[in-house]
């Protein structure tokens, strides 16, 4: 996750570099460190550094990292000849490197020759069966080809060995949600919450999945997770506020005959409704009447 300070720093550097000020190298280093995906900018500024022989020699041994970064960015922007040139330079310099082998396989993937890329990855995996990046590239390739079930298989096998990799769990959760396999997605989100309990994003996603699954117990749990998201974000997350309102109305619909702790639930719902109205008044005042009618219908049906 990128923190706010890092994000502002990144944007500031980006503006500076775009408008002709110096600092392209610091920008590229920051992009590499934060692993954000700004391929066009990376391509533009990276190429400007690489094509200028004076700047290139001043980089020293970091030049090769820059080549790798620009190659990946070029593949992302589909400038395959630029990528091929960079890979060739790297191959000449490091003739036996597995990292360059991975770049070449990625180039095959970008060109669309899936079988050749598959073979290349398989041979790379034979040499180093514990290379996490290659496993992930195989999953990405299966997903790009549209073979979601194969992607799920590969990803599950990867997670059997590397079960502490939370990015992989997140990817798996999103794939399951896209396939509407909500129970499995709930499991993945639980893993994510376990490893990083203070990230409100995972609480929110888990609550969404639980609400979609439905059923009284799931709805009550979802409401609690929406509440925890509100707590973690200081009440600023609009989706969680809506979630609370919807959950409360759905719960009261399901428990129409039985009188349970309605007092506390309605307090939370009315508070959430008030915060939502205040928020909309500030940010989107023309949508306020729609909001009030929607909220009224929710409370009326409960």
């Amino acid at each position: 996750m990128v923190t706010k300070t890092e994000e502002t720093q990144l944007n500031r550097l980006e503006n500076q570099v775009d408008n002709g000020g110096g600092g392209a190298w610091e920008y590229l280093c920051l992009v590499r460190k934060l692993k954000v995906r700004r391929s066009e900018k990376v391509l533009k500024h990276g190429l400007s550094i690489l094509n200028d022989p004076k700047q290139r020699s001043s980089l020293g041994s970091d030049e090769w990292t820059l080549y790798e970064q620009v190659a990946v960015a070029a593949m992302d922007c589909q400038c395959l000849d630029v990528a091929k040139d960079c890979t060739k330079v790297l191959r000449k310099r490091f003739p036996e490197s597995k990292r360059v082998g991975r770049l070449e396989a990625m180039l095959l993937e970008a060109k669309g020759s899936w079988e050749l890329a598959e073979k290349a990855y398989a041979s790379l995996l034979e040499d180093s069966p514990l290379d996490q990046a290659i496993h992930k590239r195989r999953v990405a390739m299966a997903k790009a080809q549209g073979n979601i079930s194969v992607a799920i298989d590969w990803l599950n096998k990867y997670l059997e060995t590397f079960m502490a990799d939370h990015d992989a769990w997140r990817e798996l959760a999103e794939i399951y949600v896209s396939l509407q396999m909500y129970k499995q997605a709930a499991f993945c989100y639980e893993e994510l919450i376990l490893s990083q309990p203070t990230v409100p994003l995972y609480h929110l996603a888990y609550a969404d999945v639980l609400y979609t699954l439905g059923g009284l117990e799931n709805l009550q749990t979802a409401k609690k997770y929406y509440a925890s998201t509100i707590d973690l974000t200081g009440g600023k997350n609009t989706r969680a506020l809506f979630g609370i309102c919807l959950c409360t109305s759905a719960i009261t619909q399901l428990t129409k005959g039985k009188s349970k702790e309605e007092k506390e639930g309605s307090q939370l719902q009315s508070l959430a409704a008030k915060v939502l109205e205040k928020d909309y008044k500030q940010r989107a005042p023309d949508k306020l009447p729609q909001l009030t009618t929607a909220l009224k219908s929710l409370t009326l049906s409960s």
């Binding site: 180093s128 069966p129 514990l130 059997e160 060995t161 590397f162 079960m163 502490a164 990799d165 499991f187 639980e190 893993e191 919450i193 376990l194 490893s195 309990p197 749990t221 409401k223 609690k224 997770y225 929406y226 509440a227 925890s228 509100i230 707590d231 200081g234 009440g235 600023k236 609370i244 506390e264 307090q267 939370l268 508070l271 959430a272 008030k274 915060v275 205040k278």
Partner: protein
């Protein structure tokens, strides 16, 4: 009895300082040599998996109160099940890592290299100190000591009436041996300040870690109780929202 012996300043110039300088140089040399001789170890798949399992079990323990109790119980059974739980290591397999480590040629070579790179310079320096710098008083320790230390610190000096605070250069050697870690961290960067004491400790402890780690995690997980923290979160959310409105 506390007559102060006046020590020649030449001792300081020609004994204490050169000895320290030599030890620092040997430490730096050892660091570079170890970097050259470092062979990249291909990690074993099983060990990697065990490491990851331990991390996941630790996460489960840490975040147990944030997931619903049913989910926690499912995972606990998955990890601690007597027959095929992830953390369960049958007694026979526990011994394997060490035996494997000795028979695996790469690892044995690495161990030998580490040990040798430490033992040889130590032995040589010690012999050099003994040969050249023995037989005279080298320094005075600023605090008084008991008579028991005499044999350790004064071994070149054959006068029994000299105060134990006056030590020979062998003790200066030992002082440097254990104390140069701060200097190395300045010169070589924070992570490379591995002094001889740490290396001696590393020599002792080896690869039992995987199996012991797993059983330790299993015991910890067995004890963990589930106390769902989210029960009170609705109240906390209300408080937060009230603050936002006001």
């Amino acid at each position: 009895m506390a007559e102060d012996l006046v020590l020649d300043t030449a001792i300081r110039d020609w004994v204490l300082i050169p000895l320290s300088v030599v030890m620092v140089l040997i430490g730096v040399l050892r660091y570079f040599v170890s970097k050259l001789m470092h062979s990249s170890q291909t990690p074993d798949a099983k060990i990697v998996k065990e490491g990851q399992v331990i991390v996941r079990a630790r996460n489960l323990r840490a975040g147990a109160n944030f997931i619903p109790s049913k989910a926690f119980r499912t995972r606990k059974i998955y990890f601690c099940n007597e027959e095929n739980g992830l953390l369960f290591v049958p007694k026979g397999q526990g011994q394997n890592p060490q035996a494997q480590m000795f028979s695996d040629p790469n690892m044995a070579m690495d161990m030998m290299k580490k040990n040798l790179s430490m033992i040889i310079p130590q032995t040589l320096t010690f012999a050099w100190v003994n040969f050249f710098f023995s037989g005279f008083v080298a320094a005075k320790i600023p605090f008084p000591l008991t008579q028991r230390f005499r044999s350790m610190l004064q071994n070149g000096i054959d006068l029994s009436t000299v105060d134990v605070s006056y030590v020979s250069s062998r003790s200066w050697y030992f002082l440097n041996l254990f104390g140069l870690r701060g200097l190395f961290s300045l010169i070589l960067g924070e992570e490379n300040a591995v002094d001889d004491t740490q290396r001696m400790m590393q020599m002792g402890g080896f690869g039992f870690d995987p199996s012991k780690g797993l059983s330790a995690e299993k015991d910890n997980l067995d004890i963990t109780q589930h106390d769902w923290a989210l029960l009170n979160f609705e109240h906390r959310a209300e408080a937060v929202l009230r603050k936002v409105i006001s």
